[in-house]
Every structure is written in C-alpha cells, then in structure tokens.
C-alpha cells in the first residue's frame, strides 16, 4: 500500500520536487509548477540588486503554499555553506536547506568532505538538511548518521540531462538508506524519472529538463505522470530479469 513521502515529519502527496532555475519567465515557472503538482521547490540566495528589485519569485510560490527548499549553491566550502544556510533561514523563515557544495564549476561535482562537515554543523544548528551528493553509498550512510533528513544523490552532472549514469550506486544507496532518497541532478527525461522511481527512489528533483523544454507546462505534466507511474510500478513489484526467454504461452499443444 502506498504511503506518503515524509521528510522530517512533513508529508508530501507528490514525489516530484522541482527547481525554479532556468525558466524563461516567472509566469511560465508558476504554470509549470502547478502542472507538476510539486509541493516542494528549490531556490537560491543572492545579493540583492538594490537598483532593480524585480526578481520576485517568492510571491507565487508562497501564494501556492509551496514548501521552500533554499539551496547553498555558490558555496565552495563548508564554511560558505553554513553561512548561506543561516542567511536562507533568516530570509525565508525555514530551517530546511539543500546543502550543496561544488567548488568545481565545470562538472559541479559535490565536495564530499566539505558536505559532511557542513551537514554535521547544520544539523546541530537545528536545520533539516538535505545534502546534494555523489552517488556514494558510504557517504550516504555517513550523512544519514550525522542526522540528515534525506539524501540527494546525483544521477549525472547537474543540467547534463544524461539520466541515471550512477544507477548501480543509486540502487545500493536506496537498498541501505533509512532516510528518503531523492535522486537529484542529471534527470533529463520523464523516462529517467520513472526509472529512478522504479528502482525505489523516494522522489526525484527536476529542474533543467522541465525549465528548458520548449513547453515546460506539458513537460511538467509528463514528469508528474512518469514519477507516479514509476512509483506504482515499484510498489507493484517488477518482474525478474532473465537471460533467456521464458514462454508466456504453452509451446507444445499446437503440434501434439
């Protein structure tokens, strides 16, 4: 029987989380989010441009009662990320934080050592920490042990649309996790999202694939359907994969 996704005591009807970056227009973002039925959205923090304060993405999100998950994007060290998390808590009145520390601008690979250090501190500071991480089963357990509310392993590099390149390691993480596993980054098509859910992921976070689609609203619907289908298939139980054919019809009666 289906149970709701619960993170730090908060229940979600939708297992599709959505990032707010890269949409061509805030109104389009709002429409896509509505079509996706996502209940949690990510955003970043930046120094305000005093001269033109017109980038109000929060209005529609708050009006639609979305759960906000600010990220620490731009942080290169644990210290940066901890500062960013406290800024986010102050600005957005939430103690939820997507911890991401990626010092390398080319591949945006998350720094495992700085991420673990920051997670330890932020959990002690009262944050609900959801760390973006490589699909490293050992690190996933370490992050769980220091009190992270979920883990967010990557499928592939951020924005790459490559899908579940890390599939084998995601499966180990899912098998071993005692906290929700949200596959984040690299999911480029609804089929990738469905597959992550079929593997037993508790949710997925989508941004680029939806936002840069020529029709983000239709793509949001496609992802919502894919996530629901993948989850249903996981709960139903997938058949065993076999090397050779196993007949679905009797093979002998016709010629006998």
């Amino acid at each position: 029987m289906e149970s709701k996704l619960t993170i730090a005591g908060h229940q979600f009807d939708s297992r599709l989380f959505t990032g707010t970056g890269k949409f061509s227009h805030p109104r389009l973002m709002e429409q896509a989010l509505a079509a996706s039925k996502s209940e949690l959205v990510t955003m970043s923090l930046k120094r305000v441009d005093i001269a033109r304060q017109d980038d109000d993405i929060l209005g529609p999100l708050l009006a639609n009662s979305m759960k906000l998950l600010p990220n620490t994007s731009g942080a290169k060290t644990a210290q940066d990320a901890i500062f960013a998390a406290h800024l986010a808590r102050e600005a957005l009145a939430t103690n939820w934080i997507k911890l991401e520390i990626h010092p390398d601008p080319k591949y945006l690979m998350p720094d495992p050592i700085e991420t673990l250090k920051a997670a330890q501190t932020l959990v002690k500071d009262g944050f609900v920490v959801l760390p973006y991480m490589h699909a490293d089963p050992v690190l996933a357990k370490r992050l769980e042990e220091v009190g992270c509310a979920a883990v967010m392993p990557l499928g592939a590099p951020i924005g790459s649309n490559k899908g579940l390149v890390s599939q084998d390691f995601l499966q180990i993480i899912i098998e071993q996790a005692n906290v929700p596993v949200i596959v984040d980054a690299g999911i480029g098509a609804p089929s990738h999202a469905a597959y992550a859910m079929e593997l037993g992921a508790d949710g997925v976070l989508i941004n680029t694939a939806m936002a840069v689609s020529p029709d983000p609203v239709a793509m949001a619907k496609a992802f919502a359907g894919a996530v629901a289908a993948g989850r249903l298939a996981y709960l139903a139980g997938l058949g065993q994969v076999n090397q050779q054919a196993i007949a679905t019809s009797p093979l002998t009666a016709f010629l006998d």
Binding site: G19, T20, G21, K22, F23, P26, M29, T42, M43, S44, L45, K46, R47, V48, D49, I50, Q53, D55, I57, L58, P70, N71, S73, F83, H86, L87, A88, E90, A91, L92, I158, G159, L205, N207, T208
Partner: protein, 74 residues
C-alpha cells in the same frame, strides 16, 4: 563649528553610500535604500543580523552591508 562628516558604508560589495541625516541604525538604512525587507537577510561585516535586531543595530563608518534575497535556482 566643525561639521560632522557623514558615515559611509558599502552595500553589497559595490556601492558606497553616505548615510542620510538621521540614519544611525540598520533598519533606517534599509528604509533609506527603499529595500523590500519582507524576505531578505542582512549581514554587517559578514555577521548576520537577525531581523528583530535591525532596530537596535548601530552602524559604524566603513561597515560592509550585504543584503541577500531569494532568486530562482535548482
């Protein structure tokens, strides 16, 4: 009589401004800058000042003020 020189502070690492007459506290500076304060965090010299302290926080010459707000992101 010697005129008192106005205090100067930097805003978001770029602009340096003079505080208007009567501006002594952080909340008065934010009013001077016409900043929508509903969803922002403010740091002075890299220390976050909680919103309930904006009324009381006295500004000093050469303070570095950083105002952060939410933007789209993944």
């Amino acid at each position: 009589m010697q005129q008192i020189k106005p205090l100067r502070v930097s805003i978001n690492q770029h602009n340096t401004i003079e505080l208007s007459p009567g501006v002594e506290h952080l909340h008065e500076l934010l009013e001077q800058l016409s900043i929508d304060t509903s969803h922002v965090a403010v740091a002075v010299n890299n220390h976050i000042i909680n919103q309930d302290m904006w009324l009381l926080h006295v500004l000093k010459d050469n303070d570095q003020i950083s105002v952060f707000g939410a933007i789209a992101g993944g």
